[in-house]
Each structure stands twice: as C-alpha cells, then as structure tokens.
C-alpha cells in the first residue's frame, strides 16, 4: 500500500537521513526506531504529506502522494506530537470536529463509545492531564475507517492500561487489513512486522 522510495531529509545544512526505502503491505506494522534527533518525526511528516522530502518519493497504491493530495489524506489518520485537541472544547466536540474535517460522518453514539472506551472524562480539555489529552487524540483512531495510521510517539504519556489498550487497537487495525507506521524510542509490548532504524541521529 505505502511505498517509500529513497527518502532523504535535510534540516538546514545537515542531513537527517538518506536512502530510506520500504514497502508497507496490508496488515503490516512498521516501527520507526532511532535516537532523539534522528528524524523520526520528520519521516512521519513526510509520509503523511505535511513535509516534502529533499529527495525521493512516497507512493500510495503506486501513485505519488503529491499528486493524490486530499484523496490520500482521506485514507490516513495522523496523530502527531501535539495531540491536536483544542483546550476550550470538550473531547467530544474535538472528536466530532476531527471527524467532520476528515470528511467522515460523526455519529454521536460512535463518538461517545470511543471516548468511553478510552476513559476520557467529558470535561473541557484544559482540565485534562497530558495522558488524558493523548487518549482524547487516540479516540480518532476508533472512529475512523482509514486503512493507514501514522502515529508519532503514540505511547508517550500513556499509563500501563492505556498502553495495552493502544496495543489492542494496533493489533485490530493490522488484523483488519490496515497498516500502521509508528515511532517510538522505547520497546513497546507489540511485535512489529518491520522496523526502520534511523540510527543514532546526526
């Protein structure tokens, strides 16, 4: 499904990584490993189309993502470093807006169920802890049917129960024929089918 060809990323004058290539098929879980500053986040941003690689190309089902644009964006869920939830809204409102932005119907039962499953309280996000914010962001995974998930440090700030819940989600997504790319610098409790190691950083 997702294909990275000879990706290279430069930040300022230094090269973060070069010649990163992989093919991700259905049902695969790819872990991007590497030290702090090795370009894990940059790679993920390139994969979802937020940033452009200085060389190489990302292809989705054989077509370059630069030419697919929104058609590609509809196929993926990206959860970045910042949880992308608004402080002034409740998790429920945040989730509803995220659904509508990505062009998916926001059924209120589905929203409530997703948040209940992740145990996110119905308070304005500003009153939530970092871990709860992360959970509110991860709720987007439960309400989407996108085949590709791109997750930047999804395990950060989660407690043990949250980690095992997320592991379940990842397994289900992979079993259902989806694909996941995630970054982490700690060993997670789930077995990845593929690992891209960006090394020790520049």
């Amino acid at each position: 499904m997702l294909e990275a060809a000879e990706l290279e990323c430069e930040r300022g004058a230094r090269t973060l990584f070069r010649a990163v290539s992989f093919v991700l098929a259905q049902g695969e879980l790819l872990r991007v490993a590497g030290a702090n500053g090795s370009g894990k986040t940059s790679l993920l941003r390139i994969l979802c189309g937020l940033a452009r690689p200085s060389a190489g190309e990302v292809r989705w089902k054989g077509q370059p993502i630069a030419s697919l644009k929104e058609d590609y964006a509809r196929e993926l869920v990206y959860i970045g470093h910042a949880p992308a939830v608004k402080d002034d809204l409740t998790p429920r409102e945040n989730l509803e807006i995220a659904c509508r932005l990505s062009g998916r119907p926001a059924r209120s039962e589905a929203l409530a169920e997703a948040l209940a499953r992740l145990r996110v309280p119905d308070l304005p996000v500003r009153k939530l802890s970092q871990g709860q914010r992360r959970r509110a962001a991860l709720a987007r995974l439960l309400v989407s049917e996108a085949p590709l998930w791109l997750l930047d440090e999804p395990f950060a700030t989660l407690d043990a129960q949250g980690i095992s819940l997320l592991n379940d989600l990842l397994e289900k997504q992979v079993e259902g024929g989806g694909a996941v790319v995630y970054t982490t610098h700690q060993e997670a409790g789930i077995r990845s089918t593929r690992v891209v190691d960006l090394g020790r950083g520049a």
Binding site: V85, D87, S102, G103
Partner: protein, 222 residues
C-alpha cells in the same frame, strides 16, 4: 467539501464563543481608538466631521489586525492546523472558511458599531449607511489579506510586529477607497465609484487569497 468548510466555520465560531474576551478586546480596542481622537483634537465639529471617515477606518484596520495573530497561531501550537492540512477538503477551502469565521467575529461587529462611534463625530445623517456599507465591503478584504500575512509569519519570533509591517501597507487601497467613499458621499458626489471598487477588491481577494494563504501555510508548516 462544503461540509468541511461548514465544520471549520462552526468550530471557529464555537471557539470564539468560548473565548469571548478575545473578541471583546478587539472590539473595545476599536471603540477606544476611535474615541481618543475627539478627545485629542478637540470638539470642533467641522474638523471632527472631516476626519471621521479616515479615523474610523484606521481604527477598523488596527482592530482587525489585532486578532490576526490568533488566526493560525493557536491552531499551529496545538497541532490542529496539521489536521486541517490533512483534511478531506483542499487547503484553500479550509483557509477561506477560517477567513470567513475571522470576519464574522472581528469584521462584522465593526460594521454594526461603527455608525454608533460615528455619532461622536457628528457625521451627516446620510453618511452612516455609506460608512457601514463601505466597512461591510472592506472588512472581509482585510481578513483575507491579513490571513496571508498571518500564514507567512506563522511560527516566527516577533511575528506580531512583522505581521503589522507586512499587512498594513497592503491595507492601504482598502483604507483609501473605504474612507474615500464616505468623503465623496459627504461632498455630495456619490460614493458609488469607491464602493464598486471596494466590491471589486473583495471579489479579487476572495478569488486569489485562498491560494496565497494555502501556499504560505504549506511553507510555514514544513
């Protein structure tokens, strides 16, 4: 596509509702700046009448700029802007919706209260409508042009001042036409020419600024 645009407008209006103080600050700023002039230049009616259009328009310009900094910065900081870039609609549609929401919150109230402010300047009775109409046509242009600047200065240090330096010169045509319309009407010459030109500016801005804003955002987000 329109569903996404509606979602963005609703979201921004809801956020403005939750942060009413931000909206009120920009409006109060407009009221206070426009009220300082009669106090500063004295209560000579003829002088006040002649400076009224220009002063009110300059106050509107400054007030509209005050809220521009927040247009993308907050969404940038919490990551929601990235999600908009990855939304189901082209970025041009999303930013137009954001510009519209910005105008509804910061421009439209100006149109409503400007005639009240103009009372302080003892504007001739027929000119209140012209003033409101010129603001109605001009303030959306301010929001759209301002959004280009806000997108370009996103994430920069000292973005606020840079934004002012970047955007205020671009506001000049709107200022000249807007204040000019009221002056022409006051001189009995009819404001139609200026108002039509303002309308043309609005059409032009609505057609081209979405792409400029989208391109600027993509550069800033890399």
């Amino acid at each position: 596509m329109l569903a996404v645009a509606r979602a963005v407008v609703q979201r921004d209006l809801l956020l403005a509702l939750r942060r009413r103080s931000d909206v009120a600050t920009a409006l109060l700023f407009f009221v206070i700046v426009a009220s300082l002039f009669p106090l500063g230049v004295g209560a000579e009616p003829n002088l006040l009448r002649s400076i009224a259009p220009g002063v009110i328009w300059v106050a509107a310009l400054l007030s509209s700029m005050l809220s521009l900094g927040r247009l993308f910065a907050a969404d940038h900081a919490d990551g929601t802007l990235e999600q908009m870039l990855l939304g189901a609609a082209p970025l041009g549609v999303v930013v137009t919706a954001k510009g519209l929401a910005h105008w509804l919150v910061s421009g439209l109230p100006l149109v409503a209260i400007a005639p009240l402010i103009a009372l302080q300047y003892d504007l001739a009775p027929g000119l209140y409508g012209v003033l409101a109409l010129s603001l109605l046509l001009g303030t959306p242009v301010l929001s759209l042009i301002g959004a280009i600047g806000a997108a370009l200065t996103l994430g920069l240090r000292g973005a606020g001042v840079l934004l002012a330096l970047l955007v205020l010169p671009l506001y000049v045509p709107v200022l000249i036409l807007g204040a000019g319309a009221v002056e022409m009407a006051g001189a009995g010459l009819g404001p139609e020419g200026q108002l039509l030109l303002l309308g043309a500016l609005l059409v032009l801005a609505a057609a081209f600024s979405p792409w400029a804003i989208a391109a600027a955002l993509r550069i800033s987000m890399e």
